[in-house]
Every structure is written in C-alpha cells, then in structure tokens.
C-alpha cells in the first residue's frame, strides 16, 4: 500500500430506528477503517446493514452512537449543511443504476458536484475532463447518458464520484446492472482508482466482485462477523512457476 492515510474511520458505530422494545438495530458497534489506496468490500444478505453502513460513511445518515470521520473530520458533531459540504468535497457515490442526469452530457454530469460546491464553470469543466480521462472515457465527454452503454455510463459515474479532490468512493452494487464482462471492467477500474490513491468501499453480494478488494467485511444482522484480507502469494512461487 502506497499510503496509510486514513480516509474513512467508523468507530463503534450503531444505528437504530425507533426506541425500546420495538427498536430495530440496523447496525451494531461496527468499526471500520479505510486507508487511501485501499478497497474494502462489504458483503452480506439484504437487511444485513450494508447500505446503512454506506450511508453513514457518506454522511447521508447519522449514527445513533459512535463516531464517523471522513478525512479526519468528525461528521456526527457537524450541522447538516456542513456535512453536506464535506460530502460534496470528499465522498462520491456510485450506484447500480448509474444515476446520471439524462439531460446533461457526460462532462456536465461530472462537473456538476464541483459547480454545486461553488467552483467556477471553467475550472469545474477542466477537472471533469481530467476525471473522465482517468477512467478512459474522455472521448465521451459530450455524449448524453442515453447514447452510452451501461459500462460507459458507470465509468462516467465513477469519474463523477472522484472528480476534484474527492478521495472516498462509495459504491453500492456498481455492477448489478451490467453483464459479467462489463462488470469486471468496472471493477478493474475501481481497483485502479484505489491503487491510484482513492479509498473505496464496495457493497456487493457477489463474491467474485468482492474478491477485487484488499479486505472483505461480512455483515450479518447489523454486526460485523468476520473480515478477510488476501493471503500473500509468495513471489518465489510465481518465480518457480515461470522457471519451469
């Protein structure tokens, strides 16, 4: 890993809805840290708390207890407006259904979060073009979402998620609407954006997709029950193989 800078820290985070005997605990005492350069996959059946975790990480929801820090800033003590500003500057979402605005071109979609944040049109456009180039779709800048394939739209969505200074990529089943080969190219891209320094959280129920992550976290009934890192493949093994 190139950098150990912590981009996202969840500490003893719980989220419940309602009170007393009827309270529903969506998430219970979950702790998770994601560094720059790291991709973490979250796996679990529906209702296990995956989306709640993602919403808390992105400041779309607030924990009932515990701490959420993005880029070193504690979100739970901030006002809603300040959280929204932090979110725009630091975190980007990628969804299953791409969520691009159909009336805007690719470059307009990508520059929109910057413009909403007060960045001048020209600077926002330059940053958006750079973000599109980083996901290899610079040539699609002036196309509308309807004139792009699903895989291309998802690339644009990833560019939007990481445009400007944004470092935290929150992906909710990003390959759900794609065929397996296109899905894999999207994962390859997520992986390479993380290798280039972004911190990524990938929610998925597909083991094959989760396996692109550095760590896989398993959630059940709002509780983190296990996590795995990869086994290091000894270089000697690879070298032995090529020597044969």
């Amino acid at each position: 890993m190139k950098s150990r800078e912590l981009v996202l820290v969840l500490e003893q985070v719980s989220r419940s809805h309602g009170h007393g005997a009827t309270a529903v605990h969506a998430l219970r005492d979950v702790s998770l840290s994601v560094c720059a350069g790291e991709l973490v996959a979250v796996m679990g059946p529906s209702g296990s708390g995956k989306s709640t975790l993602l919403n808390l990480a992105g400041g779309l929801d607030r924990p009932s207890s515990g701490s959420v820090r993005v880029g070193g800033i504690e979100l739970s003590t901030l006002s809603r407006r300040d959280v929204a500003a932090i979110r725009r500057r630091t975190a980007g979402y990628v969804f299953q259904d791409f969520n691009l605005i159909p009336a805007l071109t690719a470059v307009e979609n990508v520059s929109l979060p910057l413009e909403l944040d007060g960045v001048g049109v020209r600077r926002a456009r330059t940053a958006a073009m750079q973000a599109l180039a980083e996901v290899d779709v610079a040539e699609l800048a002036d196309r509308f979402p309807d004139d792009m394939s699903g895989g291309q739209q998802q690339r644009v969505a990833i560019a939007r998620a990481l445009v400007g200074e944004r470092r935290l990529l929150l992906a909710d089943e990003p390959t759900g609407a794609l065929d397996s080969e296109t899905g894999e190219s999207v994962l390859r891209l997520l992986r390479s954006r993380c290798d280039a320094g972004a911190a990524g959280v990938l929610v998925t129920h597909e083991a094959r997709h989760a396996s692109w992550a550095d760590r896989v976290v398993f959630l059940r009934d709002g509780v983190m029950i296990d996590q795995t890192g990869p086994i290091d493949v000894p270089e000697s093994l690879l070298e032995n193989g090529s020597a044969r």
Partner: protein
C-alpha cells in the same frame, strides 16, 4: 482418469520423454495439479501395458521416449467426446462435513459456514490478484484460473444459501428432521468450526490448496 488422459493428449501432439510430459502437464494446467516424475512413469507403464502408448527409442541416459498408438489415439478421442461426470470427481468433504454438522449435537454450524466462507473468499481474492497481476499470460493459464474463480464463487454462493436456510430454520423454531433450531445455531461446548479444522488440515483438495502457478 485425468492424469492418464492428460498424458495421452500431450503424446497426441508429439512423442515425449517422461520429464517433458511432467513439465508440460503442469504448464498447461497452471500447475494446479503438480505431478512427480514417478507418477508419470507409473502411468506410462500402465498405458504401455494396455497398448495405448509404445516406446519410440531412448535418449543417451536410457530415458524412454513415448508415443501414442492407434488404440491410444482412439481412447483419447473418446475422452474428448465424453462429458466429465460429476460423480467421478473426488468426494466433496465440505458437503459431507456440513451434512454431518447439522445433525451432530453441539456443532456451531453458522460459525462453521462463516469459517469456510472466509477461507474460500481469501482463496478467491488470491486468484483475482493473480489474474490482475498477469493480464498477458497465456489463454490456457487464464482459463484454468478463471475455473478456480468460478468454483470458489459457487462454493461461497452455496454457503450463503446454507446460511439462509439455517437462519430460516432457526426462526421457524423447528426442523423437519427433528433437530431443534437452537442446536444448530448455538455453540454448546462441542466442537467449534475452527477446532474441526479446515479442509487443508485434512489434506483434502481445496480451493486454496490448488494454487495456480504462473508459467
């Protein structure tokens, strides 16, 4: 079985010496099936006895050069045409273990499932990393590696399914087979999943053991 037909297939291309057969077999199968040269010579002796291969001379050190006979070629052709039957594959220790675990008292089945799933996930991560690191490797190697990836994925999906079934049984509070749900979910001083040992510990073939080697 497959070593035998694997070696016949290699001989169909060209006559080969025993150690050439060994290294070529491993190269073609991404070393997921390591052979020692002794296995090769034993197999060759049987094939020669059955009239499927014959000697085509020897090198200076007396190593035999093998080639395919017509009978061997016909046998190989039949193998290519015949599907591999599932029941011809090695018995699945994991399925047997789970089947025993749901009826054995005191085994924490959900923990067993999770231990297995984490292990398979680690193997899957490892395969994916290999694939990412070697995008330009040869097609045979990639196909074998992707085979392992799909197998590990299928195992994890099956484990997810098992877990869902167990959870439903637990909610239902009873089970057709007569075992109470609490017996399935709770650890009651019996064997934990980790105590039972992973598949590797039993020396069985498992996803993580058949680690492909880049060639």
């Amino acid at each position: 079985m497959s070593i035998r037909y694997g070696l016949l297939a290699l001989l169909a291309e060209a006559p080969r010496y025993g150690n050439q057969l060994r290294s070529e077999f491993e190269r073609r199968t991404a070393a997921t099936w390591p052979l020692n040269v002794g296995q090769v010579y034993t197999t060759m002796a049987r094939l020669e006895r059955d009239g499927l291969v014959e000697s085509a001379g020897a090198d200076d050190e007396g190593h035999a050069l093998y080639r395919l006979t017509e009978a061997g070629r016909a046998d190989l052709e039949a193998w290519w045409r015949t599907p591999v039957k599932r029941e011809q594959r090695p018995r699945d220790e994991l399925a047997i273990k789970l089947a025993l675990a749901v009826t054995a008292p005191g085994v924490d089945v959900r923990s067993l499932v999770q231990t297995q799933r984490s292990d398979s996930m680690r193997a899957l991560q490892e395969y994916t990393r290999l694939k990412v690191r070697h995008p330009d490797s040869d097609l045979a190697w990639q196909l074998v590696l992707e085979g392992l990836i799909f197998q590990a994925e299928a195992e994890i999906r099956w484990l997810d399914h098992c877990e869902g079934r167990l959870a439903r049984e637990q909610e239902g509070g009873h089970r057709e087979g007569g075992l109470s749900a609490s017996q399935m979910g709770r650890r009651e001083g019996g064997l934990s999943a980790s105590q039972m040992g992973r598949r590797e510990a039993a020396g069985m073939p498992s996803a993580s053991k058949s680690r492909p080697v880049r060639t």
